[in-house]
């Protein structure tokens, strides 16, 4: 039987605060799952219930077919990575990594061999005699990884492991974690509030808000088809328009956007979301022939920000600020400058529509 992890109707209440509200989640053996959400959404509490540091108020944590609610953290075969690294300052790198093996009374020879393997795995063999205080943040977190992996846990739980690090090291270590997960085939549950990190690293992303799961799916699904305006807003960047439905169009101020499927929606008040890179920015009059006339608008470039491969423009559309991302090459080609008048085209199929009364229902 494969060692799957299952959360059944799991709930955690602190005093009057419902931190986690009837969450159901299944994680397959060898899967890399990211719990993503703003702070206070309950993602860390879920992780702590899996580790055993918190006991669920209700519901079951099931692992390998057995309910493990009442097992102590030591009895669960899970490794944990903390945001603060949590290395033992009184032990050197070698002893830190050996700790879990010592606790399991591993024979000395096997232990030394295993620690050596782990040191190689994270590339810190030359640092084995150093103390945590002598290492950089990135190195410390790699030691923490080696330490957690040394006893060969079947699940690794990571609680915002990279939040305390610089942007550059964050990206590098992200790749290390991903590689380790693929090489070792270990189940990883990764908690983060950084949507970019979640999309980059996970097989499956679970987006949470206020103790509930809002959506789960592959990074691509989450990004392309957010099921609610919350997810559309939290994952990636989106422009939002709140308008009224009129047959197959949605009226927002003076514009009437054609939105496929709008006429089948039940609600009249509609939230429209569109990703910045989906909006086409053109010099006036360069409109493509096949374009839908009503989805065209005029604007003026207010702010230009270089982000490297893309250029982010803030365009004022009758006082409404729209964010558009243009590929750097196009940007140069079109010779856009601050203050320029431009045409904006919103491709109908790029719109995601949500009923604005409930941000939950699925888009059409």
């Amino acid at each position: 039987m494969s060692k799957d992890l299952k959360l059944e109707n799991i709930t955690k209440v602190f005093g009057t605060l419902v931190a986690v509200d009837r969450v159901n989640l299944e994680i397959k053996e060898g899967e890399f799952v990211c719990l993503l959400g703003p702070s206070g959404c309950g993602k860390t509490t879920i992780l702590r219930m899996i580790t055993g540091f918190e006991t669920p108020t209700e519901g079951k944590v099931i692992y390998d077919g057995k309910v493990i609610n009442n097992l102590m953290p030591q009895q669960r075969d899970f490794g944990i990575i903390f945001q603060s690294y949590a290395l033992f300052p009184n032990m050197n790198v070698h002893d830190n990594i050996a700790f879990g093996l010592k606790m399991r009374k591993a024979p000395k020879k096997a232990m030394i061999k295993r620690v050596g393997e782990m040191l190689d795995l994270v590339g810190l063999y030359d640092w084995r005699k150093n103390y945590p205080a002598q290492l950089s943040g990135g190195q410390q977190q790699r030691v923490a990884l080696a330490r957690a992996l040394a006893p060969n846990p079947s699940v690794l739980l990571l609680d915002e492991p990279l939040s305390a690090l610089d942007a550059k090291i964050r990206v590098r270590l992200r790749a290390v974690i991903k590689r380790l997960q693929q090489e070792l085939g270990i189940t990883m549950i990764y908690v983060t509030h950084d949507q970019e990190e979640a999309l980059a690293i996970a097989d499956r992303v679970v987006v949470m808000e206020l103790g509930k799961i809002k959506q789960e799916g592959t990074p691509l699904e989450i990004y392309k088809f957010p099921k609610s305006s919350f997810v559309a807003d939290f994952v990636g960047t989106s422009n939002f328009f709140e308008g009224k439905r009129q047959r197959d169009k949605v009226r927002f101020k003076d514009w009437e956007f054609l939105v496929p499927g709008a006429e089948t929606m039940a609600a009249d008040e509609i939230y429209l979301a569109i990703r910045p890179e989906k909006i086409e920015v053109m010099r006036p009059g360069e409109m493509p022939e096949e374009a839908e006339r009503s989805n065209l608008a005029h604007g003026r470039i207010e702010v230009i920000t270089f982000l490297g491969a893309v250029v982010r423009l803030v365009i004022s559309m009758d006082g409404e600020e729209i964010i558009c991302d243009v590929v750097e090459k196009d940007f140069e080609l079109k010779n856009l400058n601050r203050g320029d008048a431009v045409d904006l085209y919103f491709p109908p199929e790029a719109f995601l529509a949500y009923p604005s009364s409930s941000a939950e229902a699925s888009p059409e």
Partner: protein, 563 residues
């Protein structure tokens, strides 16, 4: 990767059944120990003072207040304590101010001198003052040739000021370091004169520290036994009256009654201090900066002279006691001699050895149990932890003399095997000083990232191994500090142990009183010198062993027993 080999021993090796209960069991054990060794003796004292022939009565209290000779001790205690409190607080405030807020030279020197009195028993001041200002005093009788002598209230007040000074300085030094000096600068930039800034900004912003220092000084003075018994003469205070009733008259009921009366102001002072300390923590802002503008010449000289005078007074006390133990006949024959070190009393050198052994035991047990108590209170928080916390901070409210009396009343039964052995002394001193040890352990444990502990647990360590392998090594500095604190208290305390020494168990600090009582004043000084030497020796030894770390918190470890 040798996965199979790892898997073979990857089974949990924790004794989980035991581990689930170990914290609860330890909590219950410490709670029971504190109840048994603190509440039970105090309860016995209350019982003895209120209950006679099986019924509740206030007879003892009527008796106390009807006898003007005894009831005078209440007034006397308040009189000397109030005056000591006022003078010490003011002196210590300006001293701490000089160290924190001026740019005088020699701050390190003045700082160390201020804390010197902590290494000696609270009897040294009285011994020295008698040598200087007594009937045969060097200054009064021989230099000034005046008939005045210091015995009685002036002597008690003078010696208590010198004894309490470091305790008050610790509090005010911390307070003044915490208050943002930019407040002063802002006021000055608004055109306030220096004197006005001092009265309108500096003093009010240190008001919690001032009240706290005052309450502590009052408490220390009213509960002190060593100084008044030597220098008080006929001037009886509550502490000496308890001793007189019990030891000379065998009136245990009256001794218990006076103990209860002494408990009242002592508990009040403790509560004020406890409340204030909590409040003042809020004032310690992260914005506080230790930047100082150079003091003007006049201010600088004024404070330098002030600090020098106080330091001189403290050093004079030490010099007198030490010199007094090496000269033939103070102040007539200044030939150096070692004959005062041939202690003519029962205990002699054996008492010093016993004191040392007892102090090491107190140091180790005190540091260990306060670390465990702190760990449970700060990190584990099992059900009922509030009660354990209350018990842990209570000892500071109970005068050592009262605790000691409680011990002989409660444990003087054949089945209490530890009664009459050095162990009862060890237990009593540990319990008497439990508060500060626990508080400093808690403060240290607050600095340990909770994730570190969770990491150890997730790697398979049970509670005991988490404690031994992670918490204890990370608490080493606090442990050494607490060891020093408990060791010093055990070497120097008189009041907590005076009732507990017996015909077979002698302690150095108590020998001082006995030697002085029997007229061997120079030998009393010599005994004091021995204690000072041992404490200094231990401090130096630990400083060498800990590479200076042991000293880092020297000031902290010595701060207020009722902090």
């Amino acid at each position: 990767m040798d996965k199979a080999a790892i898997d073979t021993y990857a089974q949990p090796l924790v004794k989980f059944k035991i581990d689930k209960f170990i914290i609860i069991v330890v909590t219950i054990c410490i709670t029971i120990a504190l109840v048994f060794f603190m509440l039970f003796p105090i309860g016995t004292i209350l019982k003895m003072s209120f209950i006679k022939e099986g019924g509740f009565t206030l007879e003892n209290y009527f008796k106390y207040f009807q006898n003007p000779r005894i009831s005078r001790s209440l007034y006397n205690s308040f009189y000397v304590s109030t005056i000591t409190m006022a003078i010490t607080t003011i002196l210590a405030f300006f001293y701490a101010y000089a160290l924190q807020r001026t740019t005088i030279r020699g701050k390190g020197f003045f700082y160390i001198i201020a804390f010197m009195p902590l290494i000696a028993p609270s009897i040294m001041q009285a011994l020295a003052l008698i040598f200087l200002f007594g009937r045969n005093g060097l200054i009064t009788a021989h230099l000034l040739k005046i008939p005045w002598s210091i015995y009685g209230a002036p002597g008690i007040i003078a010696s208590e000021i010198l004894y309490c000074f470091p305790h008050a300085v610790v509090i005010l030094y911390t307070t003044l370091s915490a208050v943002d000096t930019r407040l002063d600068e802002a006021a000055q930039s608004l055109g306030a004169s220096s004197l006005k800034v001092f009265w309108k900004v500096t003093v009010p912003s240190a008001k919690y520290g001032l009240v706290s220092a005052a309450a502590l000084t009052f408490n220390l003075t009213i509960t002190d036994f060593g100084n008044p018994v030597v220098i008080g003469g006929d001037y009886n205070v509550l502490a000496t009256e308890i001793y007189a009733q019990v030891t000379n008259l065998f009136r245990f009921d009256l001794g218990a009654t006076i103990s209860v009366i002494l408990l009242v102001p002592s508990i009040c002072a403790f509560l004020i201090n406890y409340y204030i300390t909590r409040r003042s923590f809020a004032l310690i802002s992260g914005a506080a900066r230790p930047f100082l503008q150079p003091s003007r010449t006049f201010k600088k000289w004024g404070f330098t002279i002030y600090c020098a005078l106080i330091s001189l007074a403290i050093m004079l006390i030490f010099a007198t006691v030490i010199l007094g133990s090496f000269v033939k006949v103070w102040p007539y024959d200044w030939t150096l001699t070692l004959k005062h070190f041939d202690f003519p009393s029962l205990g002699g050198y054996a008492s010093i050895w016993t004191s040392f052994k007892v102090s090491v035991a107190v140091g180790l047990l005190g540091a260990f149990f306060t670390l465990i108590a702190g760990y449970i209170v700060e990190k584990k928080r099992p059900l009922g932890v509030e009660f354990l916390y209350l018990l842990s901070v209570m000892p500071a409210a109970i005068p050592g003399l009262v605790m000691g009396l409680g011990y002989i009343l409660a444990f003087n039964e054949p089945y209490y095997f530890f009664y009459g052995t050095p162990w009862i002394i060890v237990i009593c001193v540990v319990v008497c000083n439990f508060t500060l040890g626990t508080l400093s352990s808690v403060a240290n444990l607050k600095n340990i990232d909770p994730s570190v502990e969770e990491a150890a647990i997730s790697l398979g360590a049970d509670s005991v191994r988490v404690f031994i392998r992670v918490i204890f090594p990370l608490s080493m500095v606090a442990f050494v500090q607490n060891f020093i604190y408990f060791f010093m208290r055990a070497m120097t305390t008189i009041s907590a142990v005076i009732f507990l020494v017996s015909a077979t168990v002698h302690l150095a600090a108590i020998e001082i009183i006995q030697l002085d009582n029997d007229g061997w004043t120079a030998s009393a000084n010599a005994m004091t010198t021995c204690i000072i030497a041992i404490v200094v020796g231990m401090l130096v030894l630990l400083k060498l062993l800990a590479g200076g770390r042991g000293f880092a918190g020297f000031g902290g470890a010595t701060s207020a027993p009722s902090a």
